[in-house]
């Protein structure tokens, strides 16, 4: 964009161009640009839907300073895959209020989508989904994390996620007694 154009004129041009496009451009914290279907972005992300409706989408790349390029690439990838997987239960569920709908099991392609992610990429994606208000993607990534915890002992879980046990011996004993019923199979 030329800087020396009249500000109002540039604004005008931008708005017209924006209205015509069926994609939006998103900019990661490290300055990379990604294009995503406007329809999918608005459907899957409450935050992006709000920005699109409010006209605060920047043609040169809407700044998403909290999201790194790898996570944003995954977000965009997910949106595009979602747009292409019709008919899907997820699509049907998106027409239902997420607040009242019970959790929907991830579909096969969604499982594969999160299974290929590295440990860090998975958490970057959870954070991005949470930041962008992407309920479905948050469900799918949280489901993946819960699968990684299921059936494991506390020690095993601490090891997988590198959680530091900061309880004192006495506190641990107290909690263990309180939770004796939940440790019956140990």
């Amino acid at each position: 964009m030329e800087v020396d154009k009249g500000k109002g004129e540039a604004e005008e041009t931008r708005k017209v161009a924006e209205a015509d496009r069926d994609t939006v451009t998103l900019k990661s914290s490290d300055g990379k640009l990604f294009e995503v279907s406007k329809e999918a972005a608005a459907r899957l992300s409450t935050v992006l839907a709000g920005m699109i409706a409010g006209g605060s989408i920047d043609d040169n790349g809407t700044d998403l300073k909290q999201i790194g390029s790898e996570a944003l690439e995954n977000v965009v990838d997910y949106c595009n895959k979602h747009a292409n997987s019709i008919p899907s239960a997820a699509l049907i569920s998106s027409s239902i209020s997420f607040n009242t709908a019970p959790f929907k099991e991830p579909e096969e392609w969604e499982r594969k989508f999160v299974d290929r992610l590295s440990h860090d990429a998975l958490f970057d994606l959870v954070e991005a989904a949470n930041f962008l208000g992407m309920e479905r993607l948050l469900d799918v990534t949280c489901h993946k994390i819960s699968e990684m915890m299921k059936g494991k002992s506390p020690d095993q879980i601490r090891e997988v996620f590198n959680i530091k046990n900061d309880y004192t011996k006495e506190e641990l004993e107290e909690i263990r007694q309180e939770l004796a019923w939940a440790f019956y199979d140990d």
Partner: protein
């Protein structure tokens, strides 16, 4: 300007990353840094005891399980009823907040019964229940035990998803049911007494009717009448009368359905039948003219002569001509002239795969003359699936999918 398109060019995924190889430099604790609402959701998704045990991980996790809604999953105890009762009382006592999801698979032991009655009816934490799976152990001899009568109506107004299995709904219970926000319903071998002509449901113990009022129902496990219904099955066949809220009568002798109304909303239909009768299949297809997927499971081929006689009718059925895209048949097959067919899957008894009859199948199916050139044909054995239960509860409850019978 340079725009990065979506496809991932580099594969960064290292399997070791996922298992957190301890020889490598330890990753920072990413999970504990997530906000409470996200961690609470992860904890909610865990089975009950796994969820409760997260409290011991570190002080960051101490309050999470109790502040998240309770997922009370009592599945998998089998006949171990003391363990089930134990779990309910302990989890309830330790948690204290609202139960959002309850899975209860229980024996008919009187001690369990009184505990469950008390829990279902009086526990205030159950006021906002959204998901309920309730079934008695199948091994119980008939007659099926009653579903705790007022319990169903107590949660009815908040339930989004409900599964009931191997129990009896009394006339009063059935009558009192209204699910204003229900989306998924599974009824597995439930016996129900006559309460309304709007819905009739059958089970292995006897045929009765059942009333259900719902405007939002979209997908169910057995039989129902609802204006937005999209998936229907497995319809039981050996019943004197099938009422879909639209007066579909079937004469016992001729085994046919006569139709007074069609349901255009239903896209997916599953039919389980003892004797395959083309009459019934044709009538059902006429009754649901917009079907895109049809699942048939039968044990015997039925009256072959009568089936052949009705072949010509098939060409006049709307759903065969315009909509039907997928047919899955267990145990037996018949030939169709579906024009937009994409998939026909035959699930056959294992022995069939080795016999000569297999070689004849393409000819018998008239694959060469098929109406849809895009149609794909799959042959597979049903294996133990048929022997145990053609439609396990697990599968029946997976109604989140667009097509619950895949």
């Amino acid at each position: 300007m340079e725009v990065v398109t979506t496809r991932r060019k580099k594969t960064k995924t290292n399997p070791k990353d996922l298992t957190n190889n301890t020889n490598q430099e330890p990753d920072p604790d990413r999970i504990s840094g997530l906000p409470d609402c996200v961690l609470g959701h992860i904890v909610f998704l865990l089975p009950t005891t796994d969820g409760a045990r997260t409290q011991i991980l570190s002080s960051r996790w101490r309050h999470l399980w109790r502040s998240a809604p309770l997922n009370l999953d009592c599945h998998g105890f089998g006949g171990a009823w003391p363990a089930c009762v134990n779990l309910i009382s302990h989890a309830r006592h330790a948690h204290g907040a609202a139960v959002r999801r309850l899975i209860l698979s229980t024996s008919r032991h009187p001690a369990v019964q009184s505990c469950i009655d008390h829990f279902l009816l009086r526990c205030p934490a159950m006021d906002t229940l959204e998901e309920l799976e309730f079934f008695y152990a199948r091994s119980s001899p008939p007659p099926p035990p009653p579903f705790p009568a007022p319990a169903a109506s107590r949660f009815a107004s908040t339930l989004c998803s409900a599964s009931f299995g191997f129990c009896h709904f009394s006339k009063e219970t059935a009558r009192s049911l209204a699910f204003p926000v229900l989306k998924n319903l599974v009824l597995k071998e439930v016996s129900i007494s006559e309460a309304s002509l709007h819905l009739v449901l059958a089970d292995t113990f006897g045929f009765r009717t059942f009333r259900l009022v719902s405007q939002s129902l979209r997908s169910i496990g057995v039989v129902i009448a609802a204006p937005k219904l999209e998936a229907l099955g497995w319809l039981p066949d050996a019943r004197p009368r099938l009422n879909l809220g639209i007066d579909v009568h079937r004469e016992l002798k001729t085994n046919t359905l006569s139709l007074t109304m069609v349901m255009r909303s239903v896209k997916i239909l599953a039919l389980r039948t003892l004797y395959l009768s083309l009459d019934v299949v044709i009538n059902l297809m006429a009754c649901f003219p917009c079907l895109t997927s049809l699942y048939i499971s039968s044990i015997d081929r039925g009256d072959e002569e009568s089936n052949v006689r009705h072949m010509e009718q098939l060409g006049h059925i709307e759903c065969i001509n315009r909509h039907l895209k997928k047919i899955v048949i267990s145990r037996f097959f018949f030939v169709l002239n579906a024009r937009v067919l994409q998939l026909m899957r035959l699930e056959l008894p294992e022995g069939c795969m080795r016999c000569k009859w297999m070689e004849m199948l393409p000819g018998l199916l008239q694959i060469k003359d098929r109406a849809s050139s895009d149609a794909k044909f799959d042959f597979c054995t049903d294996g133990k699936r048929w022997l145990s239960c053609p439609m396990s509860l697990k599968r029946a409850t997976d109604l989140s999918r667009a097509d619950p019978f895949v």
